[in-house]
Symmetry: C2
Amino acid sequence: MPAPVRALTFDVFGTVVDWRGSIIKEGAEWTRSHHIQADWAALADAWRGGYGPSMDLVRTGKLPWMNIDQLHRRILDGLLEKFKISGLSETDKQRLNKVWHRLHPWPDAVAGLTRLKTKHIIATLSNGNVALLTNMAKFGGLPWDVILSAELVKHYKPDPEAYLGACRLLDLPPAEVMMVAAHKNDLRAAARAGLQTAFVARPLERGPGAKMDVSPEPEFTHNTRSFVELAEKLGC
Amino acid sequence: MPAPVRALTFDVFGTVVDWRGSIIKEGAEWTRSHHIQADWAALADAWRGGYGPSMDLVRTGKLPWMNIDQLHRRILDGLLEKFKISGLSETDKQRLNKVWHRLHPWPDAVAGLTRLKTKHIIATLSNGNVALLTNMAKFGGLPWDVILSAELVKHYKPDPEAYLGACRLLDLPPAEVMMVAAHKNDLRAAARAGLQTAFVARPLERGPGAKMDVSPEPEFTHNTRSFVELAEKLGC
């Protein structure tokens, strides 16, 4: 019999918000306003593709601690060159880099979170920095009780310190915390740290053509296809 | 001309919630349920009285970092002896210590915060720990965008690091952040760190008989008597 769940901690990029669709959508606006001809889908994929390797440089000590805004900017500067996007001012680049603060929630996210919040603490547990997650919540109407971030413990997921640090800040034993994510490696790392797990399938995270591993796994506490379904499973 | 205010950071104990009235009220329930005859008003005052000196021991390095739950418990253990309150189990003591997680908001707090939230990031900036502030928000319906705490920077207010660390986590220059508090020393320390300031008079914080310094001061950006009045002044 698992312990009662007091808090749900959510992965954010891909699990709560549609980073790819949002970047493509805002990119189209940049094309109109700044006359940038770019394959925004390819740029979004490459930007996100640089994310894990950048964090690994921090996780292995090859880079000093840098938050995600800083890592996103490092990657973006390389991509602007690679994609031959020129003519952006420094202010433009800073604004474009913060597209990650303006990602749109998946259609079920706000409704599901609102239900889950009635019985549980709902928290982010993202590698995104606090300012990014706070601005994103304002932008998308995400009703978090508390913003938790790798930035607060200076350890990126899937380092165990990220999960255990969140539980410590909530003053809850890991067994009473449930990690919610669309990524199996995130959930497996959370489970190793003692948390319960809920998988949420996001088949469109990498676009309509991409193959995603969204099959349920018996090792997870719950397997779901939306936050609303998770709310139903948890009796909210 | 002051910079536009992007975020409001709130002192919590006394400014947002009525710690004294809440402890007296819950104390009366403990008297009924545990047959404890205690002067809860005197206990509340003594408990709060131990708060500043305890934090000073941490601020000056005489105690290692301890969060407010831990400091509250240290003080409580002394007071149970002093007030000759016996017969409480360890579970009872833990529960009583967490009365600070169950403090009631002042009557204007939720309405004012809800209005201020429409145009600004609203954040705690309290010496209370993250779990305490999160539980208190659930208990009282406080609609924070983000929970910021001395615990996250391991410096208690009025250390400048507490204010500057909050601005850093919000990724905002101090001039775009406004500290809101009922305590002038908190606001003066925030101003020295470069923040704007809003004083909110809470004449009943220490009970109906206590003399409080609630006179407006021209040095503060705003002087108000409620969060609703602050919302009006900020055009929310």
